[in-house]
């Protein structure tokens, strides 16, 4: 019997040693290379991903010698999972998921904000469920995607109207599931980005109302990379950014064609897109204002219990890789 116990103990010890060995092996550095050419891109379906869609459609990254394999995700938060899990080399992520990266000491870096605007996030609600003004949302079932700009915007929206998250019944849903849930009457409202608000409004017509929120939340929509890419392939990052610069120039000079490309990707007509794009600034930059916003979001995350009560707000500057953009356009970088 004692022999069996020792065998059992040995097995447990061996399992632990194997775990440690795996961790060490994963940590071993591979041979560096001057440029990584085959890249996997994680994209979130939103009008803010427009520069990425254009760069792909017009072959701007191919011109830079990059071969891109694209993977679509329901939200930037899931793009981030792919980046942190080593399944993507770069991706589109807003600042909110990056707040949690900082709070948990993980390694992913923002190389540029490629789009920003203060009218992308909206709350759409069912009028026939008794919601005609923001205050009517009290006590209702409201959907948002937890830990993303969707939830943070809802938090800001409620605060703006003298409410807190405890005043509503929060339902965690993926953006693509929200319009159907609202149309079926399973929820009373949802807070998310386009094109989901527009899609729900189109079906519900008079039964729905979009609650005004312009100016409440200026979202910086970013390109994020794993730390390893910055350490080993700085030239690749410059190529990614050069492709995006070309895309943004294209949006400025070939508006009609650009809208047609985006239209195919997000499923909105060019007329609707024209209206939405007016509020979006497509310009590569790295601003201090993003850091201020992330610090504010970190406070919210701690208050909401998403981070330990004793968690300290990290220095979010460490989550920015400024070298590449600075070398292309020094004026675009205000982060020191």
């Amino acid at each position: 019997m004692k022999r069996k116990i020792w065998i059992g103990i040995t097995i447990v010890v061996v399992v632990v040693i194997m775990l440690v060995a795996t961790a060490l092996m994963n940590g071993c550095a591979k041979q560096p290379s001057p440029k990584k050419l085959d890249l996997v891109l994680a994209v979130n379906v939103t009008t803010y991903s427009a520069p990425v869609y254009i760069a792909l459609a017009k072959g701007f990254w191919e011109e830079e010698g990059l071969k891109i394999t694209r993977k679509d995700f329901a939200a930037g938060r899931f793009c981030l999972d792919a980046i942190l899990g080593g399944k993507a080399d770069f991706g589109t992520v807003a600042e909110a998921p990056m707040v949690f990266v900082g709070l948990t000491g993980q390694k992913a870096l923002i190389i540029a904000t490629m789009a920003s605007g203060d009218n992308e996030m909206k709350v759409i609600a069912r009028k026939d469920h008794g919601i005609v003004s923001p205050l009517d949302i009290k006590g209702k079932k409201v959907a948002a995607l937890v830990s993303t700009v969707s939830e943070f915007f809802l938090y800001l929206f409620l605060n703006e109207h003298g409410m807190t998250m405890s005043n509503i019944n929060l339902v965690n849903l993926k953006p693509a599931e929200m319009p159907n849930a609202l149309i079926n009457g399973d929820i009373d409202a949802f807070a998310v980005w386009e094109p989901f608000v527009y899609n729900a409004g189109k079906v519900l017509n008079e039964k729905a109302t979009v609650l005004s929120s312009k100016g409440l939340y200026d979202i910086p929509f970013n390109i994020v990379i794993p730390e390893e890419l910055a350490q080993k392939y700085p030239e690749t990052i410059k190529s990614i950014l050069r492709g995006l610069v070309k895309a943004e120039q294209f949006i400025g000079t070939n508006r009609k064609e650009a809208l047609e490309i985006i239209s195919k990707e997000v499923g909105l007509s060019t007329d609707v897109l024209e209206g939405l794009a007016k509020d979006i600034k497509f310009e590569l930059m790295l601003n201090n204002s993003t850091i201020d916003l992330m610090e504010r979001e970190a406070k919210w995350a701690i208050e909401a219990g998403y981070a330990p009560k004793d968690a300290k707000i990290p220095d979010y500057r460490s989550l920015f890789y400024t070298k590449a953009l600075k070398s292309l356009n020094p004026k675009a970088v205000t982060i020191e």
């Binding site: 447990v12 948990t104 000491g105 993980q106 937890v146 830990s147 929060l170 965690n172 998403y306």
Partner: protein, 257 residues
């Protein structure tokens, strides 16, 4: 310390040592710093997270709603599985017609039905009960069908020769003879119910342990997630233990240890 260990019998050592040893090694590996402690927290931090959730009140309310969902789904799934299993196990006609239809759906994982369930039944409680019922149904049905169809014909002939009608044959001979099979199916059903619960609560829920796991995943609160997983494990083990106890009372001639 050593004399104390020497005094313990081998059997007691086998019971007492593995879990504390595992927890101790886990604590050491996590604290050594090979992994990011936020993503691979030590068990002591998971315990603190559990206490934090208890203080917040979310743990008890989530556990309560999840147990309620599992209980209702398990009862409905078991009832459907036993009823239809009896039908398909006794009747060749239903065995072929219904049987092939059920076999068509059986290999499809519950997760594949989540979106369809939300479209059909919405985000309310019914869709969650449905998914758990759906998952529990198959193992219970399969075991009931097997158990019922394998009842020895000598039992049936003996009962019939003593004048048993169809109802008495079913309730006093066939079902009791098939009970060990049915119980085995239901025991598998308990584990499946918890799997389906998590699947059902991960989308479109606003409370429950599955919902909480998803939220903690999204915000990288792995310490809380591990705490909830431990609670789920304990609930599963308690449910299984309670079922085995009840089954042994019901079938004293066919006890499980």
């Amino acid at each position: 310390m050593i004399p104390f260990i020497k005094k313990l019998s081998s059997k007691r050592l086998a019971i007492l040592v593995p879990i504390p040893l595992f927890l101790l090694l886990w604590e050491i590996v996590s604290r050594v710093g090979l992994y990011n402690a936020a993503l691979f927290p030590p068990p002591s931090r998971a315990l603190l997270a559990l206490i934090e959730m208890l203080k917040e009140g979310t743990l008890l309310s989530d556990a309560f709603i999840s147990v309620k969902r599992v209980s209702i789904g398990f009862c409905l799934g078991s009832f459907a599985g036993i009823s239809i299993g009896t039908l398909t196990g006794r009747s060749k006609f239903f065995g072929i017609t219904l049987g092939q239809l059920i076999q068509l759906f059986r290999p499809i994982p519950v997760i594949a039905f989540v979106s369809l369930t939300i479209i059909f039944f919405g985000l309310g409680e019914f869709s969650k009960y449905f998914l758990i019922t759906w998952g529990v149904f198959f193992p219970v049905w399969l075991n009931t069908d097997t158990g019922i169809s394998r009842v020895e014909s000598s039992y049936l002939r003996a009962a019939q020769s003593l004048g048993a009608n169809t109802r008495r044959l079913l309730t006093e001979v066939i079902i009791p003879a098939a009970l060990p099979y049915i119980a085995a199916g239901m025991r598998i059903g308990i584990a499946v119910a918890y799997i389906c619960l998590i699947v059902a609560e991960m989308t479109g829920a606003s409370e429950g342990l599955g919902y909480r796991i998803e939220i903690t995943r999204l915000v990288f609160r792995i310490d809380k997630m591990i705490g909830i997983l431990v609670v789920l494990g304990v609930l599963g083990a308690l449910s299984d233990g309670a079922f085995v106890w009840f089954r042994n009372k019901l079938l004293p001639w066919h006890k499980w240890i």
